[in-house]
Symmetry: C2
Subunit: 99 residues, 2 copies
C-alpha cells in the first residue's frame, strides 16, 4: 500500500459511535468512510443506542453500500461509573460492516 492510502485504508477499524442523533446522521458517516476507501467500518453503541446501531447498519448496507456485508457482530457488557460514584453495567454492541 502506498503512503497516501495510509490514513483511510491502512486503518482497518474505522469506527462510527452511535449516539442520540437520528440514524441517518450516522448512516452518512458510515457511507462517507466507505466512499473514502475504508474496507470495513465498525458501528458501535451502548445501552439504548444499540437499536439505532442496528438500524444504521441495516440502512447503510441495504440502501447505500449494497456490496457491504455484516462481517461480525459482538455484544459485551461495560461497567460505567455513575455521577454518584456507583457503577452500572451497560450492554454494548459492535457491528463490523465490510465490503
Amino acid at each position: 500500500m502506498g503512503e497516501e492510502e495510509q490514513t483511510e485504508i491502512a486503518m482497518p477499524g474505522n469506527i462510527v459511535l452511535i449516539g442520540k442523533k437520528p440514524a441517518m446522521n450516522y448512516v452518512l458517516a458510515v457511507v462517507t468512510q466507505f466512499n473514502g476507501g475504508a474496507k470495513s467500518v465498525k458501528v458501535r453503541a451502548r445501552g439504548n443506542a444499540i437499536s439505532r446501531a442496528v438500524d444504521v447498519a441495516e440502512i447503510s448496507r441495504n440502501r447505500f453500500v449494497t456490496d457491504a456485508k455484516v462481517d461480525n457482530i459482538a455484544i459485551s457488557s461495560e461497567e460505567l461509573a455513575n455521577e454518584d460514584g456507583t457503577k452500572s453495567k451497560v450492554s454494548a454492541i459492535e457491528i463490523t460492516l465490510a465490503r
Copy 2:
C-alpha cells in the same frame, strides 16, 4: 434423561421474543429453557426492544447460565404493515446462546 424432557431437548430453536417488559422477565425465560435441557436459546427482538435483547443475552450469560456462549448474532430488516396500510421497515436481531 427421560422421555418427558424430549420436548425441550429435541427443539434446537427455543425462542424468547423480547417485548416491553423488564429485561429480567425475559432472562428468567432464557434461564428456564436452559434449565429444562435446551442446548440453545434464541433471543429475538425488533425495533427499540433490540437493546433489551442484548441486555437479556448479556445478563443470562454473565450471571445465570455462565457456561453459555453467544453462538451467533444475526441482524435483519423486516417490513411491517402499519394500521393505515402503509409499510415501515424495522430492524431485528436474533442472538443465539448455546452451551
